[in-house]
Subunit: 164 residues, 3 copies
């Protein structure tokens, strides 16, 4: 197996693509907080009861538009950290650079599309389902490749050593 110093070198294309895409996703998720704040202001829905006067709101009940942005944000929380966990592992499996860069950028675009069709300008299904599914499939592929590389291959090597 390749040493980490080689695989994760800052000159390594795969790793640079991964770090860049992760940072773009960080900014995208920060955008969700801004979108939520904007919806809270428009509809006078406070994040916490003590903000009621601050927003000149009349009630602490939520509003469908606020809930929608919150659901999109929660979906990010369910999907992006696990992409990060699987994506680092996958970068270490010595993948084909073109495939890896394509997967990382497709994931990033799919999540941006998910936010747009879910929370910015609602597009009828299956737009949301497809953008979510693309990211979901990529994360799953990366996690399975990582397990195969780090666990299964090691186990097979161990068994072969033991047999001989």
């Amino acid at each position: 197996m390749a040493g980490l110093s080689k695989v994760l070198d800052t000159d390594n294309t795969v790793f640079c693509a991964f770090v860049t895409c992760s940072s773009i996703l960080v900014l995208k998720m920060m955008g969700m907080s801004i979108l939520t704040g904007r919806q809270r202001k428009i509809h006078g829905v406070p994040a916490s009861p003590e903000d009621l006067t601050l927003l000149k709101g009349k009630t602490i009940e939520s509003h469908p538009d606020v809930d929608r942005v919150r659901r999109a944000h929660l979906n990010d929380l369910e999907n992006i950290p696990i992409f990060y966990m699987a994506g680092i592992g996958y970068a270490l499996t010595d993948p084909n650079p073109s495939v890896a860069v394509a997967l990382y950028s497709t994931y990033t675009l799919a999540r941006i599309a998910h936010t747009i069709v879910y929370a910015v300008h609602v597009v009828p299904q299956p737009a949301r389902g497809i953008s979510w599914g693309v990211g979901f499939a990529i994360t799953g592929y990366m996690a399975m490749r990582t397990i195969k590389y780090f666990c299964c291959d090691s186990c097979i090597a161990l068994c072969q050593n033991w047999v001989h």
Copy 2:
């Protein structure tokens, strides 16, 4: 202290165990989305109002079975990313490989058990409390070991240099 290139080498047992366990946890969390989708379909509860017709549902009110899976998923979000953050740090503290591998695999099994007793087939307490507590204790141990290794030891060394 050991250099990172040695500690995080892809031949390093501790690191391989960490990456494998993280990827298994990624797949497990992806399973939560599938479980939620299944419960939504059974009970006709849409994720978002516009999915109502898609699921042939009659109401956007939630159902206890959907809520249960969602709670289990949220508990994952509260626990697994912090395990990842503490687990990487711990891998860098040059731990005893057997102990490290045992902690990573116990954590992974505890979280799988947590999902089963909480969301798949409800087992009376304290099953859920124990499986959660085991993971919680392991995360806390790893975080404290990491702080001791990276912060306290450095501070003590600094002070000793300064005294002499």
Copy 3:
């Protein structure tokens, strides 16, 4: 660009500060679970209906104090994993060590302050807004610096090579 083995060495000040701050934030987030448990016990609000008898509670309806701690915890989930993602990237951009250590520690203190003013002892706004905003700004700065270093600089270098 500097090689990763140099940048991420365990003797590297920036990296040690990052790992230490991350682990402190892990312990802080674990504290949220304990705070939630305490509020659940005080007000007899179970995490799941089957815990009702365990807590000697009378209803599964939530209580404002429980909701408050949960909101603070959810705010952590929205902010701390993305700090981790941006913070690793930033550590690899060969930053000025004093600036990097200052940013990591300020972020950590801001999040601890956020928890205190939000969930432990409620302080009127803008205390919560400021502590949240400081962390938000730091995460954004780190993500943008990472993109500039790993993506833009590489693109510019590529274009310059192509022109000559």
